[in-house]
C-alpha cells in the first residue's frame, strides 16, 4: 500500500473565522455595531440587559441574541423588556456560540432598522474566548460575588475583551471582594480594558454604561477598538 502524508497546516478555526468575517462585513455595510457579552454563568448578563432595555427603550433600537445550552429562559425574560425580536440560540450542550449561529440569527434581524446588536453568549469564561462570532468587541462581566482573581485564573477572555463590567456592586458591602484587586488582575491581562461598575438592582453605575451604548450605537459598526498591545 502507498501511504503518503498530505500537508494541510490549516487553522481549525479557519471556517468559523471566515463566517465571522462575513458577519462583520454584513454589519459594517448596514452600520450595525455588535457587542458580545461574555461571563461565567450567573454574573448577571441577563439582568444587566433587562435594565438596559428598559432604560433605552425609547432611544435605541436594540436587537438581542441569547445563547444557552438548554432553554430559552433568557430570551423569554428579555422579550418582556423590548418590542424587538429576541432570538434564542439553544446550543444543545455546546459551551459557546459560534459564527454560524450568529450568521443565522442575523437573517431574522431587521438589520437596517436596528441601531445595536447585543449577543449574550453562553455563560462560560473559557470557550467563548476562542470563538470569533463577528462582533466589534467583547464585553466581559465579573460579579462581586465571584472571586476577584477570576481575571488571573481565566486571563484569555479578559485579554480578548475591550470592556469589562463589574456587576452586582450593591452587594459589595456583604462580600470579601476587592474591586482594586479585580481591576488590577484585569489590567494584567489587558492594560487597556475599560471598566464599568454597575448594579442592575440599585441602578448604580448604569448611566455610564448606558452612555457607552448610546455612543456605540451612534458611531455605528467598527466602533473604535481600544488600542492595545
Amino acid at each position: 500500500m502507498a501511504v503518503r502524508v498530505i500537508d494541510v497546516r490549516e487553522r481549525v478555526m479557519e471556517k468559523n473565522d471566515e463566517i465571522a468575517r462575513a458577519v462583520r462585513l454584513r454589519r459594517e455595510e448596514a452600520g450595525l455595531p455588535a457587542l458580545n457579552l461574555v461571563s461565567s454563568p450567573g454574573a448577571g448578563k441577563t439582568a444587566l440587559l433587562e435594565r438596559t432595555l428598559d432604560a433605552l427603550r425609547d432611544e435605541i433600537e436594540i436587537a438581542i441574541v441569547t445563547g444557552d445550552c438548554q432553554t430559552q429562559n433568557d430570551a423569554d425574560r428579555l422579550a418582556a423588556h423590548t418590542s424587538h425580536l429576541v432570538q434564542a440560540v439553544v446550543t444543545g450542550g455546546a459551551c459557546h456560540l459560534d459564527a454560524r449561529q450568529v450568521e443565522r440569527a442575523l437573517n431574522d434581524i431587521a438589520i437596517d432598522d436596528t441601531d445595536l446588536l447585543i449577543i449574550e453568549n453562553v455563560g462560560n469564561l473559557v470557550c467563548p474566548a476562542s470563538w470569533d462570532i463577528g462582533e466589534d468587541a467583547k464585553v466581559v462581566l465579573l460579579s462581586v460575588t465571584e472571586g476577584e482573581d477570576k481575571p488571573e485564573k481565566y486571563p484569555k477572555i479578559f485579554r480578548e475583551s475591550d470592556y469589562a463590567v463589574i456587576t452586582k456592586m450593591d452587594l459589595l458591602p456583604y462580600v470579601p471582594f476587592s474591586v482594586a484587586k479585580a481591576v488590577g488582575f484585569m489590567r494584567d491581562a489587558n492594560p487597556f480594558i475599560r471598566v464599568f461598575y454597575t448594579s442592575a438592582t440599585s441602578g448604580e453605575g448604569m448611566e455610564e454604561w448606558l452612555e457607552f451604548l448610546r455612543d456605540t450605537a451612534r458611531r455605528g459598526s467598527s466602533i473604535t477598538k481600544v488600542a492595545r498591545r
Binding site: 502507498a2 498530505i6 494541510v8 497546516r9 481549525v12 471556517k15 455546546a94
Partner: protein
C-alpha cells in the same frame, strides 16, 4: 471544554479534503495544539478517536503535537491511496 466541537471541525476538514482530492483512506491526522489553545490534549484525542472510528474514517488515529502559544491547526493528513507501494 469544547474539545468535541473542535474534533467535529477537524473531521469536517479531513472529510472535505479526502472527498475533494480523492485521497483514499485516512490513516492518521496530525494536529498542532498550543498550550494556550484552551484545549486538553487527552480529551481532544478521546473525542477524535470516537469520531474517527466511524465511517468514512474507519479507525484513523489522531496524532497531537504540543506546541507553544494558542496555535490550533491540522498539520497533516496521512492517507493510504490503495495503490501498490513501490
Amino acid at each position: 471544554m469544547h474539545e468535541m466541537s473542535v474534533a467535529i471541525e477537524v473531521c469536517r476538514m479531513a472529510e472535505e479534503r479526502l472527498a475533494a482530492q480523492q485521497l483514499g483512506q485516512l490513516v492518521s491526522v496530525g494536529l498542532d495544539v498550543g498550550d494556550q489553545a484552551g484545549l486538553e490534549p487527552d480529551n481532544l484525542s478521546f473525542c477524535l478517536e470516537a469520531l474517527l472510528a466511524q465511517p468514512p474514517f474507519n479507525g484513523a488515529k489522531p496524532v497531537i503535537a504540543r506546541v507553544a502559544g494558542d496555535v490550533l491547526r491540522v498539520s497533516y493528513l496521512e492517507v493510504d491511496d490503495g495503490r501498490p507501494g513501490d
